[in-house]
């Protein structure tokens, strides 16, 4: 039964009121007294040597305050990378320097060369046009294969080649995998591309730097998913500002999807420049700037082989992937094709032998990093496409083939180093079969055919890993940070609570859902709890929100802190009622002594903590505030089964999504309405990847898709209503809420389902096509049908 409060209730979102009335506080809504504006002059070539930057004429333009170039940043650090991957041979990855402003060379279209700070934005832009650049064009490398060839132009002259690392996982599995593939009854091979995407949160990135000479404190307002991470990276590694002299604020943030995790050069620039000119400096990205400076996503080229025995049991998986890093290493870029991708190659299946090889490659393109799903969509796409292909080659039902190979016993240690704590893949498939009405498909296909269309049904069973942890493990894998979360719960004297969480909400609704958890634990109204996030001066520490980790990790920290609050409050209540604290029970916001009618209200205990007239001062400090740091013992493993039905117009190759159903296992759910919304959004983005979106470069490294005129975002007419269900639930076994994470599932689960459906439709019309690379645009589908 749906609940009407606490955990499991679809509370309406309290943050909506400000967003619906235009009173949100996004970074670009902030204007500081005396602020100047910066415009970045960016490279319009993919690769070139900077022989000269003449700013004399520009400096004389009206309103110009100061013009900065790479030379101004020689004394500060470069933009750091937060993850060091070790290659197959035990050597560290090649790690190039990433200057704040380009120095010596430009390495991608959009690389910032100079920054004009002026009284108005228009004046800054005008002056930038008067800067005279002398840039010697160099041959660019865009294609990853070409970038790895001997004699290819080098993106970084001081590295030995364009190879960042050659990674094998698990290296010890390699011989057994090769042997299993040699001796298999059947091997299905598939070459595919996971198309390069751009996250495209609707709010472009913004940064405002400020400096206070009196206190020596710098402040950065920025559109970040993790302000504390920015404070650490920028303060310690770029600008040399200790954390107590640096405040980072991320107020309302208009979507992130990964692209606002990373520390960007513009943040360091604005903080640096504000001190240099002693004025606040504001930068707001245009959309075209976002396209050429936000980290891109995906961009893998893969060959996958799936080996089966004579009974159609999976015996081995071997993959070879080229993963594009772009021109520099973005904050978490090296981890995406490795530990967020290789570790998931078992999927939902008990394949005994798996080996993953990834070569990460530098090219003259924008840096590539995590985008919604980050490595896991790439893993799921390969696996679920090759399984579908194998089912066709073997003439077996694709659902039956999947069910036959499902992992059914937990915990399950995969051959790729992770242990799934719990799951029930047959249960989610059962739910899917029910909600997707597979029984009615034949009739729907017949109706489509009557209308001259082809209809296809595609399935996908994804697994993902959320809340990447524990810190001790990720440290061994190369992370240069811990991956815990913290929360401070402050109870006020009159009983209201404020939670300072290191998680950050940029659309996920934490201000609504986090109080639901505390309300349930204490038995009070959720309206008594307020959430504070996104400001390093208010929240003690935080690792932020990405990888579907907020509730599983941040929520768990909040639960631990609240447990400490309750334990202390029980001691106070015991004192007030002259009882033993072991006998105190907390229910519906009141403390009572077991077996008696004695009781004291939550608010009275809180008041006693702050007005300790009758208080056990010899045993307890006054006050009621607790902090907890929570470091999970494992990832969580949400999983699900998705079904997509498409119609294809054989005359034009146009694909339309007719039905989309998702059956997910997220463990326990705090707010079903919000969880459904997260899945809807993920599916929308996944359909975008499958049918519409492509970040396109020409062979010279020109970015062809740098506006919404050229990059096809999914619109309302491109998608149907979705049917989503998360009733199949196996709660996570190792975090206190039993939650798994739901933010990325839709984006992971949907692309393979869409592509599988299109192939099914085309084959139903007699086509022999077995694969089309995403996006499945009309021209690609039509061309494939003609082959």
């Amino acid at each position: 039964m749906p609940k009407d409060s606490g955990i499991g209730a679809s509370d309406k979102r309290r943050e909506d009121v400000r967003f619906l009335t235009g009173t949100g506080n996004y970074t670009d809504d902030i204007n500081m007294a005396g602020q100047a504006y910066v415009h970045f002059l960016r490279s319009d070539v993919a690769h070139g040597r900077i022989n000269g930057i003449d700013t004399a004429a520009a400096e004389a333009m009206p309103g110009v305050v100061r013009i900065f170039t790479g030379a101004d940043f020689e004394a500060v650090g470069g933009i750091p990378c937060g993850w060091q991957v070790t290659d197959r041979h035990g050597n560290p990855m090649q790690e190039p320097r990433h200057p704040v402003l380009a120095h010596g060379k430009v390495r991608h279209v959009g690389d910032p060369i100079a920054a004009v700070v002026a009284e108005t934005l228009a004046q800054a832009r005008d002056a930038a046009e008067a800067i005279k650049l002398d840039i010697e064009d160099l041959p660019a490398v865009v294609d990853m294969k070409a970038a790895l060839e001997d004699g290819a132009p080098k993106v970084h002259d001081d590295l030995t080649s364009n190879l960042c690392y050659d990674w094998g996982f698990v290296e010890d599995n390699k011989d057994a995998v090769d042997q299993a593939i040699r001796s298999a009854a059947h091997v299905t091979t598939l070459d595919l591309v996971n198309n390069r995407l751009i996250a495209n949160p609707m709010e472009p990135r913004v940064a405002i730097g400020a400096f206070d000479r009196a206190s020596g404190e710098s402040t950065l307002y920025t559109t970040s998913q993790n302000p504390h991470v920015i404070r650490l990276l920028m303060g310690a590694f770029v600008l040399g500002i200790p954390e107590h002299k640096l405040r980072v604020v991320s107020p309302d943030v208009g979507g992130g999807f990964g692209s606002k995790i990373f520390h960007y050069a513009e943040e360091a620039f604005c903080t640096f420049a504000a001190k240099a000119i002693n004025r606040p400096v504001k930068w707001t990205a245009t959309r075209s700037e976002a396209f050429m400076s936000d980290a891109h996503g995906r961009d893998h080229v893969t060959r996958i082989e799936l080996a089966l025995d004579g009974d159609n049991n999976f015996t081995a998986i071997r993959t070879e992937t080229l993963a594009n890093m772009g021109a520099y290493l973005s904050t978490f870029a090296p981890s995406v094709p490795t530990y967020l991708h290789g570790t998931l190659m078992a999927g939902c299946y008990k394949t005994p032998n798996i080996y993953v090889n990834v070569k990460a490659v530098f090219t003259n393109t924008v840096p590539v990093d995590a985008y919604r799903g980050a490595g896991r969509p790439e893993a799921s796409y390969q696996l679920e496409r090759v399984i579908d292909k194998a089912a066709r080659e073997l003439g077996v039902d694709p659902i039956a083939l999947r069910r036959q190979n499902f992992i059914t016993e937990f915990p399950y240690a995969t051959p790729v180093a992770v242990e799934y704590d719990t799951g029930d893949y047959n249960a989610t498939m059962d739910t899917l079969e029910k909600i997707a009405d597979f029984g009615g498909f034949a009739a729907r296909r017949a109706a489509s055919e009557k209308a001259g269309k082809l209809r296809g049904l595609g399935i996908n069973c994804y697994i993902e890993a959320c809340g990447i942890a524990p810190s001790s493990l990720v440290g061994q894998l190369g992370a240069r940070a811990g991956l815990y979360e913290s929360a401070t719960v402050r109870v006020n004297a009159t009983g209201g609570l404020v939670v300072m969480t290191g998680s950050h909400s940029h659309g996920q609704g934490h201000e609504t859902t986090f109080p639901q958890v505390i309300a349930e634990m204490i038995g009070i109204d959720a309206g008594m709890v307020e959430i504070v996030h996104g400001d390093t001066s208010k929240v003690p520490m935080g690792l932020g929100t990405y990888g579907s980790r907020s509730l599983a990790v941040g929520g768990s920290a909040m639960v631990r802190a609240t447990e400490k609050i309750i334990a202390k409050a029980k001691k106070i209540a015991a004192h007030l009622m002259e009882a033993s604290d072991a006998d105190i029970e907390l229910k519906d916001g009141a403390f009572s002594v077991a077996g008696t009618d004695k009781s004291v209200a939550w608010g009275d205990v809180c008041l006693a903590a702050y007005v300790p007239h009758n208080y056990p001062l010899e045993e307890l400090e006054p006050g009621l505030e607790e902090t907890a740091f929570y470091d999970p013992s494992n990832f969580t493993y949400p999983a699900g089964a998705y079904a997509c039905e498409v119609e294809v117009d054989p005359e034009t190759g146009q694909v339309t999504i007719e039905r989309f159903c998702a059956a997910d296992d997220f463990g326990n759910v705090v707010n079903p309405m919000i969880v459904d919304g997260q899945v809807h959004g993920g599916i929308g983005q996944g359909i975008g990847q499958a049918l519409l979106e492509a970040c396109a470069y020409d062979e010279d490294g020109q970015l062809l898709s740098a506006s919404y005129m050229d990059y096809a975002m999914p619109r309302a007419g491109d998608v149907p209503f979705y049917k989503v269900d998360h009733s199949s639930s196996t709660p996570c076994t190792h975090n206190p809420l039993g939650v798994k994470g739901c933010g990325e599932a839709g984006a992971i689960g949907s692309p393979p389902a869409v592509v599988n459906a299109v192939i099914d439709a085309l084959q139903s019309g007699g086509s022999k096509v077995t694969h089309i690379d995403m996006p499945l645009s009309p021209s690609r589908v039509w061309a494939a049908m003609q082959a």
């Binding site: 967003f19 619906l20 472009p204 979507g255 940029h506 919404y708 975002m713 309302a716 209503f721």
Partner: protein
């Protein structure tokens, strides 16, 4: 500089603008009405949608000087003076039609323009009408549902709350 005057959410407003100043910039930077958002530079995303003389307009594609003398309505003027949300705003909250909130002002203003002309639009009409408003968070499901609900249609049969 050009002197412009317009009625914004029922109040007389004036200011000095450059010829190239966009209406979106005038609303945000001169009048401080930051509810109107700028999400792209090409008139594609619709986050900046406002009403000019009752017609939905992308304010990043109109010069402030062009709106001289016009009546402009923005998201800030949609709720009642006491803060009560209007029917569209309330339906967006009831049906979770927003997540990060950045596209939301444009969605609400665009939906208002649709319902003025077409008080009971079909799902297909709503999806077609929203072709000039991009949302990256919701997959549009709950936006379409909210607009149907705001127009008094029963949405209980639409899959998944």
């Amino acid at each position: 500089m050009i002197q412009v005057k317009m009625t914004v959410n029922g109040k007389e407003k004036s200011g000095e603008v450059e010829g190239r100043t966009l209406l979106a910039s005038f609303l945000r930077d001169t009048l401080g009405l930051t509810g109107t958002h700028v999400g792209c530079d090409t008139g594609q995303c619709g986050a900046c949608t406002v009403h000019v003389d009752g017609v939905a307009v992308k304010s990043c594609n109109m010069l402030a000087a062009e709106a001289d003398g016009a009546s402009v309505d923005t998201i800030e003027g949609q709720a009642a003076p006491d803060g009560t949300l209007n029917a569209i705003q309330q339906a967006f909250q009831d049906h979770h039609g927003l997540q990060c909130g950045f596209c939301t002002p444009g969605m609400v203003m665009s939906a208002a323009a649709l319902l003025k002309d077409n008080p009971r639009p079909s799902e297909a009409e709503i999806r077609f009408h929203l072709s000039g408003n991009i949302c990256r968070c919701t997959g549009y499901h709950n936006i379409v549902k909210a607009i149907m609900a705001a127009s008094g249609q029963d949405v209980s049969a639409i899959a998944a709350e």
